[in-house]
Subunit: 256 residues, 2 copies
């Protein structure tokens, strides 16, 4: 398996065609996986916003006040309002905001970025990243580049472990997971591992190549990796019913 | 960045020298990262056990009974006992066991594997995986293979997202994380990403190559990846004080 950053992508602006920009700079081949950082997808889709776009609700003011009293530094209630509007649920509202985006991804601040955006205050995540991935994949196909899977990536932290890792938030041309259930080890025992989240592993691998900041390469080509003949699944984001940690957070919030 | 599985490793037995077995099969170079699945590290370290080694305590019986009444299938209280003995805390005890191992890793069943072990019932995780990684790294150095970082990996599920991914449980010759704090994006803004868990990303990437079961390659060589000149940190496992989700799980367990 080989990973290479796509060199010399320009600063992305609203309306830019990411498929075209990548196709001009990378010799993509059938079977490749192309990962694209959500930051450039959002920029191409014009998902920028300004704090003044978010008139502050009572709830946003309450959240900002509480964050301020805990953190001891000024928190902008309009930023809290933006997070509320981008979310379907706030899992944690103090001492930081952990939100489920409307498309099901759970991450701090609903993934809203306050760096990385030149002429505005905020960069929102793509509205439907799987559709974004499908559009890029179709754009490549229109240029004769067939059979390339596309993953839109984000980086975020996680419970239990320090640090952030690359994760997938949208994907096209491949399933999210590879299902090993029913397969056997060398000794004929059923495997302990059942469902492997390959889109997240590909996003994590790509993030090692992407880097951050001025020298970053927000698109990465993965070559010579094969999904294989396993069953696949497109479930990536757990529902509340299927996630004890979310249930515990609800109880804890209700108590607190 | 390039990843290649180490081909033709034999079935690993207690006392086997993993460094020697890998060195004979892969032309390692300075700067490479070698990932090794915890299963083979545990086998080499003789970390197998049998259910009869675990006389059942009252707590183990209680846990097994409760799991059985929820799952509707028989649960062996000796397995619960093994998990208790390998753990410093049970974060969830029903409907499955989520445990913190004595070295700080949080995973289902304290990472005890019931497949993958030919002549025994159980395969435990290495007792101190970072020391295991250091031993393999020293073993390579003794063979004249200098400057290879070593990561011992596990696969496990996580909150919020379906599926399992490769993660690091021990590492040597590199820091666990890369610190981007204080660095700037193209426009001079401070970066949103702060600490990147590179050992977990490398473990995830390697897991794409490793596969599972009969065709698996439990050791993978990562080439042409560079940690760079960033600050590093060796913190990987969060403490309770630093993890709201763990705090929420404690409250929830006390309630339940």
């Amino acid at each position: 398996m080989e990973l290479n950053g796509v060199a010399d992508l320009p600063e992305i602006r609203p309306g830019d065609d990411i498929a075209a920009l990548v196709a001009d700079r990378a010799a993509l081949e059938p079977g490749d996986v192309l990962t694209v950082a959500s930051t450039i997808v959002s920029k191409a889709e014009g998902r920028t916003a300004d704090l003044e776009d978010y008139p502050v609700s009572g709830r946003a003011r309450e959240i900002a006040d509480r964050l301020e009293s805990v953190a001891g530094e000024e928190k902008d209630p309009r930023f809290a309002q933006a997070i509320i509007e981008e979310s379907s649920e706030l899992l944690i509202d103090c001492p930081f905001l952990l939100a489920e985006t409307r498309f099901g991804h759970i991450c701090p601040n609903a993934g809203i970025d306050r760096s990385n955006v030149p002429d505005h205050d905020l960069l929102l995540l793509p509205e439907r990243p799987t559709e974004s991935a499908e559009r890029i994949r179709s754009g490549l196909a229109e240029r004769g580049i067939e059979d390339v899977a596309v993953i839109v990536t984000d980086t975020c932290g996680r419970p239990f472990r320090h640090g952030q890792t690359g994760v997938a938030i949208g994907w096209a041309g491949m399933p999210a997971s590879r299902d090993w259930r029913g397969e056997r080890d060398r000794d004929g025992h059923e495997l302990g591992v059942t469902v492997q989240s390959v889109v997240d592993e590909l996003a994590a691998a790509a993030n090692l190549v992407t880097g951050e900041g001025a020298g970053g390469t927000p698109a990465v080509v993965v070559r010579d990796w094969d999904f294989g003949t396993h069953e696949g699944s497109d479930e990536l984001f757990r529902s509340v019913e299927d996630d004890l940690v979310r249930q515990a957070l609800r109880t804890w919030r209700a108590d607190g």
